[in-house]
């Protein structure tokens, strides 16, 4: 197993506001880590620090792969949905190492790669649509294609299941499971119920970080780590969540 990312005693945040304190995390090839935790707990700060968008306040962050070898799917609400850009151009933007000066060499391989990804996700037909004309599920597929353009060794996803219907959510996680055979995945979700079925390990982030070696954690563990979570479960998506405890409680929809 190859070590991709090494985080040691890292603190990070915005201005004087420390969001993450003294955290440690190693990401290896083949990992599928579900990052859970309450809103404002530092999940997004963690991946923005890994991506180099936020400078750490203290501690060490070592990337053993190049930055462009990390595929990134940001939160959908960070995207300007009325921006005049087509689906095809959004996907092509994932291959940005060739963007500078690229107007003059047409880059056939890049276009073919974008087309094959769109085809794989079943959305080749909408390649010429504007980004704002898509449904939530279609949009997430487009951003997943963009994140995969560089054949990344690590895929980082920030809440990919927001604004999508239940069907697509299940489909997405199955797709991620398949992708996990080729790359490590770091998946942020507020939805501990659903993801724990798909991920291999769980990292609970709430100012501190606790990396659990399995995908099943008990409610006691959550509480003892000061990691209060809203338990959300959806229709027919499997959720072997939080074992023990009376199951009915977890089926109550709090959505």
């Amino acid at each position: 197993m190859k070590k991709l990312i090494e985080i040691k005693n890292l603190s990070a945040g915005y201005d004087d506001n420390v969001v993450l304190e003294n955290i440690n995390l190693d990401v290896f090839s083949g990992d599928f880590i579900g990052v859970i935790g309450p809103n404002g707990g530092g999940k997004t700060t963690l991946i923005k620090t890994i991506l180099g968008l936020i400078k750490p306040i203290s501690g060490e962050l070592t990337l053993h792969i190049s930055k462009t070898n990390i595929g990134y799917l940001p939160q959908v609400n960070q995207i300007d949905k009325r921006f005049p850009i087509s689906v095809f151009d959004v996907v092509r933007s994932g291959k940005s190492d060739s963007a500078l000066f690229s107007s003059f060499h047409k880059n056939k391989a890049e276009k073919e790669k974008a087309e094959s990804l769109l085809d794989e996700m079943g959305i080749l037909a909408i390649r010429n649509k504007a980004i704002g004309e898509l449904s939530g599920g279609q949009m997430q597929r487009v951003f997943l294609c963009r994140a995969l353009m560089n054949n990344p060794e690590l895929l980082v996803l920030d809440e990919p299941s927001t604004y999508v219907d239940n069907n697509f959510e299940g489909e997405l996680y199955l797709k991620l499971k398949e992708l996990n055979e080729q790359m490590a995945i770091l998946l942020i979700s507020h939805d501990v119920g659903t993801i724990s079925f798909f991920v291999k390990t769980i990292a609970c982030v709430n100012r501190n970080l606790h990396h659990h070696p399995s995908n099943i954690i008990t409610e006691e563990q959550l509480t003892s780590y000061n990691c209060p979570l809203q338990i959300i479960t959806h229709g027919n998506i499997p959720h072997t969540v939080l074992k023990l405890h009376d199951e009915h409680q977890h089926h109550e929809h709090t959505h």
Partner: protein, 275 residues
């Protein structure tokens, strides 16, 4: 078009001042159409408004020091563009407040200098409200140079500009020179504003950077097409506005903007009825 109107047009083009005004509207359409598409897509219209008004400080300073007011305006425009970014990124001032500070500071400096300048400030109104019929050939050469630079820059770096504008964070993660481009584009915005002040004036220049783009956006949701359509609509409005300005003897800035809004309304109406 009947022969009579044709003859009038031919006669108009025999005047140097009219040919200059015609070329000015074409060059203004090119620079404002392209740069405005970037401004509108990236939602930095308010920043551009701040830069525009801050440049008045440079115009006042130009009068006071006896140098070309447009030269002073260019310096103020670029400094305020940088200043707005610096205030909000390093100084922790909210961006809209930072814009308002530079916007009003520039206007205040301009007013102070104009009043300190002994005697009458010639052409002051033409900087505020535009006067396309008095554009000089020296200004035309500058506008031509700017139009060429903008066309080359946006052609060479089309994808980089598009990707950075659409998703700045993602562009950073793929190692694009985001900060460098932000500054280069800010300088291009400043120069575009300053060199087109003579066409529609400080008060009205935001229109050239937004209305043709809004019109183009009715018809397309592709960045490259939006640039081309914007140039077309901007030119059409500038030329018709120029004619109205000449025949009705109304300041060109006002007639051009009025025409832009009419065209926008027509395009929107036709599009709505078709769908």
């Amino acid at each position: 078009m009947n022969t009579n109107t044709m003859n009038i047009l031919i006669e108009l083009f025999s005047y140097d001042f009219f040919v200059n005004a015609f070329l000015a509207s074409l060059l203004a359409a090119i620079s404002c159409g392209i740069v405005g598409t970037y401004i509108v897509s990236r939602r930095i219209v308010f920043i551009s408004g701040g830069i525009t008004h801050a440049s008045f400080g440079g115009i006042g300073m130009g009068y006071y020091l006896g140098i070309n007011p447009l030269f002073g305006a260019a310096i103020f425009a670029i400094l305020s563009g940088m200043g707005i970014q610096l205030f909000s990124s390093k100084g922790k001032v909210r961006e809209d407040s930072s814009i308002a500070i530079w916007w009003s500071l520039g206007m205040a400096i301009g007013i102070i200098f104009v009043y300190l300048t002994p005697g009458y400030a010639p052409n002051l109104m033409s900087y505020l409200f535009g006067s396309i019929l008095t554009v000089s050939s020296g200004e035309l050469w500058l506008m031509l140079a700017l139009a060429i630079i903008i066309i080359l820059f946006f052609t060479f770096f089309y994808r980089t500009i598009l990707y950075i504008s659409f998703d700045e964070d993602f562009a950073k993660t793929s190692d694009l020179p985001v900060n460098l481009f932000n500054y280069l584009l800010m300088i291009l915005i400043s120069l575009t504003i300053v060199l087109n002040i003579r066409v529609v004036g400080i008060i009205l220049i935001l229109s050239l950077l937004t209305i043709p783009q809004a019109t183009a956006n009715v018809l397309t949701r592709e960045f490259d097409r939006m640039m081309v359509y914007s140039v077309g609509f901007a030119f059409l409005a500038a030329f018709i506005g120029l004619l109205i300005s000449y025949f009705a003897d109304i300041p060109s800035g006002a007639t051009i903007i009025f025409t832009q809004v009419i065209i926008f309304g027509l395009v929107k109406l036709i599009k709505t009825l078709n769908v």
